[in-house]
């Protein structure tokens, strides 16, 4: 064991951390013989650092963060593994009311491209868009969405990073004109009257390896039984969530102030989208990690020559998932 009776697992307040809360509230961790304390964190950098030094045993994390930490991109190398996937439905894109109103057509990527062109001709400053972390599907999807409409994400706009819970306020203040973030933060911005959703998760990419449950490779080696117990409990929670009847209760659970602290009505739609698209899928697929490494290479985050297959196999540990949940013959 990790030298602790109670395992400390970190999460960032987002709908896709729901499997951890459900496993805790329904006693699924306990049923697997592990005691867990869920610790709320407000930044991915702190999640990464706390896991690396052992202040957390495991956490809800961005899949690309696990890859970046393993490769030592953006921090000292801290090899991490993902034995179970938390969600495959990605973030949405929300634009400010200001920018939406300035468009000639219904807000869309094409209408945005037109606006960006006009602003450039007028000599106006480039618009700023926010993602939630440099190493995140949010960054890759936002760049892809802009690029597909003919907007160069490096030259035609300014890209920045901001905490999802602050996006509505940043739209209001004119600090950013659009953002790509997970739920409930798009709906929170809409309900605050700060923006409108222009592209939903499923429009951006059908299958998006977004969050995983991650631990360090060393922790996994030192705590093999606890690790498999956690994987089983998280999978059982995902199974429970797959039933539409349970969505109300799950949204209510997440709305608690120590979890997300947002009205259940704003949480439930995102939860529905997340589950409806991919059900209780929790098995890590190295093909997803290969796609992520490709994106990291494409925007210059990973060094050229990075072996995507090798990194994918190292981080996305299907073998551990299957050790916990043997595929039925």
């Amino acid at each position: 064991m990790s030298g602790r009776d109670v395992l400390r697992l970190g999460f960032v307040p987002l709908v896709d951390s729901v499997a951890l809360m459900a496993a805790q509230e329904l006693g699924l961790f306990q049923a697997e013989g592990v005691r867990v304390e869920l610790v709320r964190e407000v930044s991915w950098a702190t999640v990464r650092d706390k896991i690396a030094v052992g202040a957390l045993d495991g956490a809800h994390m961005l899949a690309p963060l696990a890859i970046a930490a393993t490769l030592g991109i953006g921090s000292d190398p801290a090899p991490m593994i993902a034995p179970v996937v938390l969600n495959l439905t990605g973030p949405s894109i929300t634009l400010s009311g200001r920018v939406s109103a300035a468009m000639r057509d219904e807000p869309s990527a094409a209408a945005l491209a037109d606006l960006v062109r006009r602003r450039r001709e007028e000599g106006s400053s480039p618009l700023t868009f926010a993602s939630v972390y440099p190493y995140s599907v949010h960054t890759y999807l936002l760049r892809g969405w802009l690029a597909a409409a003919g907007i160069d994400p490096d030259r035609d706009v300014r890209l920045t990073v901001a905490p999802p819970s602050r996006m509505a306020e940043l739209l209001d203040g004119g600090v950013v004109e659009g953002f790509c973030a997970g739920e409930p933060w798009n709906r929170v911005a809409v309900s605050a009257g700060s923006g409108r959703i222009v592209a939903r998760a499923a429009d951006l990419r059908e299958r998006t390896p977004d969050k995983v449950f991650g631990v360090t490779r060393d922790w996994a080696a030192d705590n093999p039984d606890a690790l498999l117990a956690l994987v089983r409990a998280i999978h059982a929670a995902a199974d429970w969530l797959a039933a539409p009847d349970h969505r109300d209760a799950a949204a209510e659970m997440l709305s608690a102030p120590h979890y997300i602290g947002v009205d259940a009505d704003l949480i439930e739609p995102g939860l529905d989208e997340m589950v409806q698209q991919h059900g209780a899928a929790t098995a890590p697929d190295p093909a997803d990690a290969i796609w992520l490494v490709g994106e990291m290479l494409r925007c210059g985050q990973a060094p050229a020559g990075t072996n995507a297959e090798a990194v994918a196999a190292e981080v996305f540990r299907r073998d551990l998932y299957e050790a916990a949940l043997p595929p039925s013959a």
């Binding site: 702190t46 972390y133 890209l159 920045t160 905490p163 819970s165």
Partner: protein, 192 residues
């Protein structure tokens, strides 16, 4: 050297800033949140940031954008001293440094910040304990008053009875008093 302290906890930020201002020629500013325009004007050499600030992720993206950003930042990790970064994370502090700053100067800043974070943590704990003590004393007073009224005891006898209950059950006086008040409420029909 210019140090920017980012901390959503204003009292702690002030404590860190005060600690730093005494040392090495330092200009210190503190803010609740990271503001890029403000930071650009101040041009800090070191940004000390609370681990519980959501702005850490924004700072990490500045390093990513180092081509466009004339003042790239790196997270401070001094390899010559293993354990320092780990200690800082456990204390709840992170530091971002403009590339090229001497490690010794950064270390001194980080150490002051860590000490002040720990001091603040201690102060908060002491305050919480003092509040709990006060609440418990008030509960004991009310339980005593209840016993005096219902059992016709004098103050001393009521206190002795509470003490005996506490020793018999092995629980502290405040907890026994709180139970007594709760049960009295139920018996009187205040609660279901």
């Amino acid at each position: 050297m210019r140090v920017l302290v980012i901390d959503p906890d204003p009292a702690r930020a002030a404590l860190v800033a005060e600690g730093l201002a005494g040392g090495d020629p330092v200009e210190v500013r503190h803010a609740l949140a990271y503001d890029e325009a403000e930071a650009r004007r101040f041009e800090p050499d070191v940004v000390v940031i609370a681990a519980d600030s959501p702005d850490r992720d924004t700072l990490e993206s500045l390093r990513e954008a180092s081509l466009a950003n004339p003042r790239p930042v790196v997270m401070f990790v001094d390899r010559s001293e293993p354990g320092l970064a780990e200690e800082a994370i456990r204390a709840g502090v992170a530091a971002y440094v403009v590339d090229g700053l001497a490690a010794g100067r950064v270390r001194a800043v980080l150490e002051v910040a860590m000490t002040r974070f720990q001091l603040m943590h201690q102060l908060r704990q002491d305050l919480a304990r003092a509040k709990a003590d006060l609440a418990s004393r008030k509960t004991v007073e009310r339980a005593k008053a209840l016993l005096m009224k219902e059992r016709g005891l004098d103050e001393d006898a009521a206190y002795k009875l509470l003490r005996k209950l506490s020793m018999d059950t092995g629980r502290n006086l405040g907890a026994v008093a709180a139970d007594l008040l709760a049960f009295a409420g139920v018996l009187k029909g205040d609660q279901p």
